[in-house]
Amino acid sequence: MTLSTLDALFAALNSNHDRFMVNKNTQIAVAGAQSSLWRCAGEPAQAAQPGTTPVVPTKATLGALAFTNQTSPATSYLAWFNLASGNSGGGIEIHDRVVHMGGLSMIVTTAQTITGCDLSTIGLAAERRGAADYSDLQWYLELYADGGATASNATINVTYSDGSTGNLTAVAVGGTLRSGRMIPLTPLIPSAQQGLRIRGINSVTLSASTGTAGNFGFVCTRMLTGKGIPLANTAVTLTWADGIPEVVNDACLMIAILCGTTSTGALTGQGKIVHG
């Protein structure tokens, strides 16, 4: 932390920051589940579907919130936002997308292999990774285009933080998973591997075709902060008193919604990433 006093923080809020605007459309979702706004139209712009080769997206990736990299010891912090949702209930989350890939099909029942999706070898900067045991990060299965309605299950083969590999508990992927849906993988770690973290994704196998190819993949994120949505069309404000997470250079900031109903709700407002 180089902003070590409130005076320095207040000065940065007033005169040394990047301001970002948010104006995202609503999208279909599931109450109680997370939904990424990465592919949602609006501002920031709708991101492209990730390719089949896993990459480390950055602040320069289309769809990310923009800010200016700093030269050490100066750094950046998410110190303020004021956002209003069209829905009541749920929560707004800000994540750094550290790795993502896509292009997987919901109608293929043979194993779909993913090459190079490993946090230890993909070239992720240590400051974006956080803890060396990957405990600051969370993997998700993420939809980039709607899947089909037919019931199916996905078994995901992963590499754990100790280098061992194994299958996660199967997760249902039928029922028309909508674009943006984020299914967290940590709860799928079998009891025998509890305490380990997921370091990489090796393959995914669907038990049946869902009937629609869709497009899905995997994203690993580092959640920075979040704020509840108590009322529709009433702005919620995140301030320095909520904690000011550091935004490291090149962080690929995206917004996700923990949905209180069956849509994400239109989201509008702005925020500041301060420097110092």
Binding site: T150, A151, N153, T169
Partner: protein, 59 residues
């Protein structure tokens, strides 16, 4: 692989899904997708499986 999938057959689930679905299930519905792929819907909310991941259990 489950040959001639039909409603009412008892089945076990094969790898890599057997750890998550270790029981014996019955086929409750057989769906043919527009592209010709077959999906067997199983009891106990086990979901849908291609016949290649099922094997018949004979008593």
């Amino acid at each position: 692989m489950l040959i001639n999938p039909t409603v009412g057959k008892s089945v076990r689930v094969l790898a890599p899904f057997d750890e998550s679905f270790p029981a014996t299930y019955q086929v409750t519905e057989v769906i043919t997708q527009p592209d010709g792929q077959i999906v067997c819907i199983l009891t106990d909310d086990a979901g849908g499986f291609d016949p290649e991941y099922l094997v018949e259990v004979t008593q």
